[in-house]
């Protein structure tokens, strides 16, 4: 397992769990949960500074240092290609030229389902502008392949709706996407509990990105630790290759040598 690494945009990572920083109680809980998750890539959102806020208030990037973590700014909340591109440009300025971004363009407030027309338009603009785009997408294998061919550095189909915890709703599509892919495939959104994360990894996904599954648990730091283990277990299980399923029993103890 030592040489089983995740490589995104030519950078190597040991952890296959990527985590968000939203919805935590406070900065201490954020830091502790992210530490427990073992994640090396951490997503952040870009928003207006609070005018009149105490300037000494801790900043997220003081707690989650770009020196220690790969910061992955997202375009959460963007419903148009234009807003997403603008957000990425501000993020690059904010992070001193760091050009790895998570592109998501949303289609509807109720489902937060990705708007793939605007996602593709934004991805084209960003790639031309030198960004390394990790793209949130619907679980359509044809769209996923198209995003790879455009030059996205990772393709991230949803397993379920953002923040829903519904789990891997269509494992067959995730498998199809992974089978056709030459870039890392990450499940992004939908994971609710550790077994969901393990299933994503057993399907063969390269990594999983999650936020609410950890932050929304009763004990987020403990769940972060559970997720770390689930990702590792799921990955090892995938590499080990599961036994075939059978319709009938097959005794584990020898039949020869019985004395009864």
């Amino acid at each position: 397992m030592q040489d089983d690494k995740l490589i995104i945009a030519d950078k190597t990572y040991n952890s296959r769990l990527l985590v968000g920083t939203g919805k935590y109680k406070d900065m201490d809980e954020t830091r502790d949960a992210i530490e427990a998750s073992g994640a090396e890539i951490v997503t952040v959102a870009i928003r207006r500074t609070n005018i009149g806020q105490n300037p000494d208030e801790p900043n997220l990037l003081d707690v989650i240092s770009p020196d220690k973590y790969t910061i992955l700014p997202n375009t959460a909340g963007c419903y148009t290609a234009k807003d997403a591109v603008r957000t990425c440009q501000l993020a690059r300025e904010l992070l001193d030229g760091h050009d790895l971004v998570k592109l998501e363009v949303l289609g509807d407030q109720k489902t937060l389902y990705p708007n793939m027309v605007d996602t593709i338009e934004a991805a084209e603009t960003l790639i031309k502008d030198g960004f390394k785009v990790m793209v949130y997408t619907s679980d359509d294998p044809i769209i996923a392949k198209r995003l790879e061919e455009m030059g996205c550095v990772a393709v991230m189909p949803l397993a379920g709706l953002i923040g829903s915890g519904l789990g891997i709703c269509n494992p067959h599509n995730i498998r199809l996407i992974k089978e056709n892919a030459n870039v890392p495939i990450l499940v992004d959104a939908g994971v609710g509990t550790a077994s969901d994360a393990a299933i994503a990894m057993e399907i063969g996904c390269d990594a999983v990105l999650m936020n609410t599954a950890i932050a929304g648990a009763k004990k987020p730091v403990l769940m972060a630790s559970a997720m770390k283990k689930a990702i590792e277990a799921g990955r090892e299980s995938f590499l080990a290759g599961r036994m075939p399923k059978k319709a009938y029993a097959s005794a584990s103890s020898p039949i020869d040598g019985t004395f009864f």
Binding site: V44, N59, L61, L95, N211
Partner: protein, 66 residues
Amino acid sequence: MKIFLNGEPKEVVDNCSVLDLLTEMGIVGKRLAVEVNEEIVSKSRHGDYSFDEGDKVEIVHAIGGG
């Protein structure tokens, strides 16, 4: 002179620079990005870039998100 800072009207002195504004807000040297009328003003230009009447200024930073 009036500008719009993060969507709110704000009075600033004539020839107020980005750096002057950040100084007034006590956030010089913080991790942030500045945009004026939807164009980024890079860190190296904060001292030189002066606002015009009615400029729409956005100052953003990183917060928790997934």
